[in-house]
């Protein structure tokens, strides 16, 4: 069916365009009962072939109106005068998937190109006590932007910034901070336990100072 065709889906199901969803189902069930074989009400009025045609229309109408999302799309399209749309079930369903894209946002590849610096790598392995500045250094060395690392770890960039500055006033309880640091170091390819233990020591000292 297209816009501007003779009967709207509502007319086929004989309901008002403003009726609630459950009335559509009731109307559809009644229609189906009426036009599927052997109903005395169509006797002498519609032949079996005609009833089958009508039933097809009814099924088509319900396939769209019976679905809240497709119905909303249909209403929107019908309301736009002067333009032509394909209003068949398939077309609307395809469109509904475009408009209401519900699949989770794909994380862009975690791999980021960076120049390997042998000296720096060696230096990293020797660090025993990690603080925020060092984390930041590694992050910048591996070419991760704040936004990027926040996207991967799901920790807000505000917290990551605060972690790098070792700023407890802008961070939640230590148990959460430990989790964040663990995530960050995992992404940066560091030894999680080592980094966390040493970072948390520094963090708690700073917390105690306050």
């Amino acid at each position: 069916m297209e816009t501007g065709s003779q009967f709207s889906y509502y007319e086929i199901l004989e309901i008002s365009p403003h009726c609630p969803q459950h009335e559509i189902t009731t109307a559809y069930e009644r229609m189906r009962q009426t036009y599927s074989g052997g109903n005395p009400a169509i006797y002498t009025m519609f032949t079996e072939a005609e009833a089958r045609e009508l039933l097809k229309l009814v099924e088509e109408a319900y396939s769209v109106l019976g679905n809240k999302t497709l119905r909303a799309l249909y209403d929107e399209k019908v309301g736009q005068v002067g333009k032509k749309f394909d209003l068949s079930f398939e077309a609307l369903q395809t469109e509904s998937k475009v408009v209401f894209n519900e699949s989770p946002k794909k994380v862009t590849s975690a791999k980021v190109e960076y120049k390997v610096d042998a000296d720096f790598e060696k230096e990293l392995k020797e660090i025993a006590s990690w603080d925020g500045a060092q984390l930041k250094k590694v992050r910048e060395y591996k070419k991760f932007s704040l936004e990027k690392i926040s996207e991967i770890t799901k920790v807000s960039s505000y917290y990551i910034n605060a972690i790098e500055n070792v700023d407890p006033t802008n961070l939640p309880a230590p148990v959460f901070v430990r989790g964040y640091v663990s995530q960050i170091s995992k992404v940066l390819g560091l030894d999680e336990k080592k980094v966390c233990d040493s970072y948390m020591k520094i963090f708690k000292e700073k917390l105690g100072q306050k």
Binding site: Q6, E14, R30, M31, Q33, T34, N39, P40, A41, I42, Y43, T44, M45, F46, T47, A49, E50, E53, L54
Partner: protein, 306 residues
């Protein structure tokens, strides 16, 4: 205030018009309205039987002969606020009814001092019945779930439409209608599945009548329903009328089959008086309340509910 005239007809005989009319009358009177029943079934008058009243000479034939007026013919019944006018039973030659008479009867009935005047017609779509239908305030068609009765109901509706279209359309257009009605029936209906759409391609038709029926559609009642399928038949007929003719029909409800009905007719005691707390009485009550409530009130009720 003018009395509201309700006309009860059917395409086929024996579907329970008389029983429906008298029961609806009893229910309305129980609701506190003053009700007059007129037995206009010239072939088989028997409202008096279903009310359990004796026959007498004071019946509708006197009115049809012009000897008296309706008010003098109205007789009280055992039921408060309910009166009735006996049908013609003591004449063996059928009355030649003119269109004028039918219209006059409705107009006279409107002037009576009642809230509702219910007219029980005979079976079939004779031009007199059609004319009364067109002039009434409320038009009720009774059918049973049998295919025979349903078929005749459709024929009744067709007759009603043709009648009106003859009045409101040009002669040429009406000839076109008659010529094409049969062809339309046998034609494969694909693109246009409404009779009205089919006609509207031809000039000379006026559809004001159809439009006016949107406000006061023909009411359809299913009598002797024995199952859920029978009840749903009302909606099916409504849908077929919309799709086939584009003619609005309103389904007002179905009345259950009940053995108490024929038993009570044998006892000549109205079943709604004998057994007032049955599902049957409830169904009549729903219909009576729905039809007797003015549309504005119903609309307001609906609005508050929504």
């Amino acid at each position: 205030m003018a009395a509201k005239v309700w006309v009860v007809g059917a395409g086929k005989g024996g579907v329970g018009k008389t029983f429906f009319t008298s029961s609806l009358g009893i229910t309305l009177s129980k609701l506190g309205f003053r009700v007059l029943l007129i037995d206009f079934d010239l072939a088989g008058a028997n409202i008096h039987t279903s009310l359990g009243m004796p026959l007498n000479e004071n019946n509708l034939s006197l009115y049809l002969e012009g000897k008296t007026n309706l008010n003098k013919l109205a007789q009280g019944t055992k039921i408060p606020r309910l009166s009735y006018i006996q049908g013609v039973w003591n004449e063996w030659m059928a009355h030649d009814l003119l269109k004028k008479d039918c219209k006059q009867l409705i107009e006279d009935a409107r002037r009576l001092n009642y809230d509702f005047v219910l007219i029980d017609l005979g079976p079939g779509a004779s031009s007199c019945h059609i004319d009364m239908f067109r002039n009434a305030d409320e038009k009720i068609l009774v059918t049973t779930p049998e295919p025979t009765s349903i078929e005749k109901t459709y024929r009744f509706i067709e007759a009603l439409m043709c009648h009106e279209l003859r009045e409101s359309s040009t002669k040429e257009a009406y000839d076109f209608l008659l010529k094409n009605m049969k062809r339309y029936r046998s034609a494969e209906k694909t693109e246009h599945f409404s009779f009205r759409k089919y006609l509207s391609s031809h000039p000379g038709f006026s559809f004001d009548y159809f439009e006016s029926f949107k406000q006061t559609p023909v009411r359809l009642a299913i009598n002797c329903s024995r199952s859920r399928q029978d009840q749903d038949l009302g909606f099916s007929i409504k849908s077929v009328c919309t799709k086939y003719y584009d003619f609005p029909v309103d389904f007002i409800g179905s009345i259950d089959f009940d053995n108490a009905v024929w038993q009570s007719i044998r006892n000549r005691e109205p079943v709604l008086i004998e057994k007032p707390f049955t599902p049957l009485a409830g169904q009549y009550l729903t219909i009576a309340k729905m039809l007797s409530t003015p549309t504005e009130v119903l609309t307001n009720l609906y609005r508050t509910a929504v």
